[in-house]
């Protein structure tokens, strides 16, 4: 049997027309995609927003037991200088008691300084400090309780308060972001 003849039958033959359809179609899809892209991308955070994406914080005025709230990327960041009791309390918690298990050590770089995004992981409200059943934070919107490490203990929030990326530039300065 002649295989060449088989390929050349009307049904299997690849014609110039097929090639033209395919290339035209591909170019149209790629072109349309390239055209649509800028219209989607323009809604992403722009260069002026990205330029403000890191913030430096001076820690020296904060006494043990005090905390400050600073604005980073339009969101509040809690910086708390924890007391010895708070640290001990946070470290003593059993992992099995936690809805979102995390040790206190993994949530801090230096035990004294707790830095976290002050946005409730439920629906985005700002929790209140020194409140709630676990001596930490309490969200007034839907009643989520966080402990002295900012971990969720009770209420509808699914996750612990988020820890932003930050570095200690020196003992008294951190850079968030």
């Amino acid at each position: 049997m002649d295989t060449k003849k088989d390929i050349d039958t009307a049904e299997t033959k690849v014609t110039r027309r097929d090639f033209l359809y395919l290339t035209t179609g591909s170019f149209t899809v790629v072109g349309a995609g390239a055209l649509v892209w800028p219209f989607i991308a323009q809604m992403n955070p722009d260069a002026s927003v990205k330029a403000l994406a890191s913030t430096e914080v001076d820690l020296s005025p904060i006494m043990p037991g005090q905390s400050i709230t600073i604005l980073w990327r339009g969101k509040p960041v809690f910086v708390r200088r924890r007391t010895e009791e708070e640290i001990a309390e946070a470290q003593a918690v059993e992992q099995t008691d936690l809805p979102d298990p995390e040790t206190d050590e993994t949530r801090v770089q230096k035990p004294e300084w707790l830095v976290m995004v002050g946005v409730c992981t439920h629906l985005g409200c700002i929790p209140l400090g020194n409140k709630g059943e676990y001596n930490g934070w309490f969200c007034p919107c839907h009643g989520s309780h966080y402990d002295t490490s900012g971990r969720i203990r009770k209420g509808p929030a699914p996750k612990n308060l988020e820890i932003p990326s930050y570095v200690f530039l020196d003992d008294n300065t951190i850079k968030i972001g």
Binding site: W37, P38, F39, A41, Q42, M43, D46, S48, V49
Partner: protein, 415 residues
């Protein structure tokens, strides 16, 4: 291809029975019987629709970042240019899109004038078109004010001051327009509102324009009535493909401006923030307004100049009745055709003169060109219909093509 399109799928049938939108679109965008002899001058309708949609989409996106406030507008435009992702591209498309829009609309109008597309029974299509053109002018002018640069500010000052030429109420009207005693932030916010609104009004008029077109159907290069079926082909795929090819060529030119010389059609003074205490040395409108600007300056009287400029546009609406000839296409009007090209040359000359300072020879030429512009419509158009002996019209739109083929065949035999 029948006109009575029947939807095939169950879902399509269900929808179409309740809202015959599929039948509507298929009737008007797919099967619509279109003369088979349309040339590329007929592709500008589709191109203009593309321009309008481009302006609306890029405009919506720019409005997400623009701030209509006298203190913030200029900075927000620079923010778009420097910070917003692809903001430079979107703004350059929008700014050059306005120019491309006017290139296309002038060619579209020139096509109608040459082939007599404004004549019975298509008068209303033409008149709606004149209103679309008028709205385009208003929209483009207001859009040019929004960046609040020097040209924006002083362009707005000059144009709004045209209203002060109105006797007795001039000052009251300009103050009302400004919402102030001079061009200020109050004008900027209302211009932004109207600039946002008008494209949608244009869109509405475009639908009426196409609706009115689809009653008698397209005119054609021969300017004679077509026999449906014998002389027509379905719009899709024949003219969809032709329109798309023309559109691609148009987009190449468009992209050339956007990517290689985005500011060539603009004026560098508009990159200086508006200063109410200093007028730039040369106030020049955007290129597409230059012919009308030349007419404004040609008349040595404030009110007279304004009346002349407004009349130059308004007179277009009366063309269907000013032209006394029964023959539509200039192909068969040997005498009028020459005056047609004279009008086109005159309009281009006016555009050039509008870009020059109105002194000496430029002013004299400007007055002559303005005179001819009006004489063409109120004298030449009505008279030539009576004087001219048109060439014999073909019996069908196929005849010129067939006779050409016959001639070719003959010359082939003799050779």
């Amino acid at each position: 291809m029948s006109d009575d399109y029947e939807p095939q799928s169950t879902v399509a049938k269900w929808i179409d029975k309740r809202l015959p939108i599929i039948t509507l679109f298929s009737g008007h965008l797919m099967q619509f019987p279109t003369p088979k002899n349309l040339n590329y001058w007929w592709t500008f309708g589709g191109i203009l629709t593309f321009c309008l949609i481009t302006q609306i989409i890029t405009g919506l996106v720019l409005a997400m970042h623009y701030i209509a406030d006298a203190n913030l507008a200029f900075a927000s435009v620079e923010h778009i240019m420097r910070d917003v992702n692809y903001g430079w591209l979107l703004r350059y498309i929008h700014a050059n899109g306005a120019s491309m829009f006017f290139i296309a609309v002038y060619l579209h109008m020139a096509r109608s004038l040459f082939y007599g597309s404004y004549k019975e029974p298509r008068e209303l299509i033409w008149i709606i078109g004149v209103f679309i053109f008028l709205l385009m002018i208003a929209t483009a002018f207001m859009g040019y004010v929004l960046p609040w640069g020097q040209m924006s500010f002083w362009g707005a000052t000059v144009i709004t001051n045209l209203f002060s030429a109105i006797p007795f109420f001039g000052e009251a009207i300009t103050n009302w327009l400004w919402g102030d005693y001079s061009v200020s932030g109050a004008l900027l916010t209302r211009f932004f509102t109207l600039h946002y609104l008008m494209p949608f009004l244009i869109f509405g008029l475009v639908i009426l324009h196409i609706w009115a077109l689809h009653v008698p159907g397209n005119n054609n290069p021969e300017g004679i009535d077509v026999v449906k079926g014998q002389d027509t082909v379905p719009f899709h795929p024949h003219y969809v493909v032709k329109d798309v090819l023309a559109l691609v060529v148009f987009m190449i030119v468009f992209a050339g401006f956007v990517f290689f010389s985005p500011n060539i059609l603009g004026h560098s003074d508009n990159y200086i923030q508006a200063n109410p205490l200093q007028t730039p040395e040369h106030i020049v409108p955007e290129w597409y307004f230059l012919p009308f600007y030349a007419i404004l300056r040609a008349i040595p009287d404030k009110l007279g100049g304004v009346i002349a400029m407004v009349s130059a546009i308004a007179i277009l609406a009366f063309i269907p009745w000013l032209d006394s000839s029964k023959v539509r296409s200039c192909k068969y009007r040997p005498l009028y055709r020459q005056f047609y090209w004279l009008l086109i040359a005159d309009f281009i000359l006016l555009g050039y003169l509008g870009s020059q300072s109105a002194t000496g020879i430029y002013l004299i030429l400007g007055r002559l060109a303005t005179l001819y512009y009006f004489l063409h419509f109120i004298l030449v158009m009505p008279l030539i219909g009576f004087i001219e002996k048109p060439k014999p019209l073909p019996k069908s739109i196929s005849e010129p093509v067939l006779s050409k083929e016959e001639q070719l065949a003959k010359s082939g035999q003799t050779a």
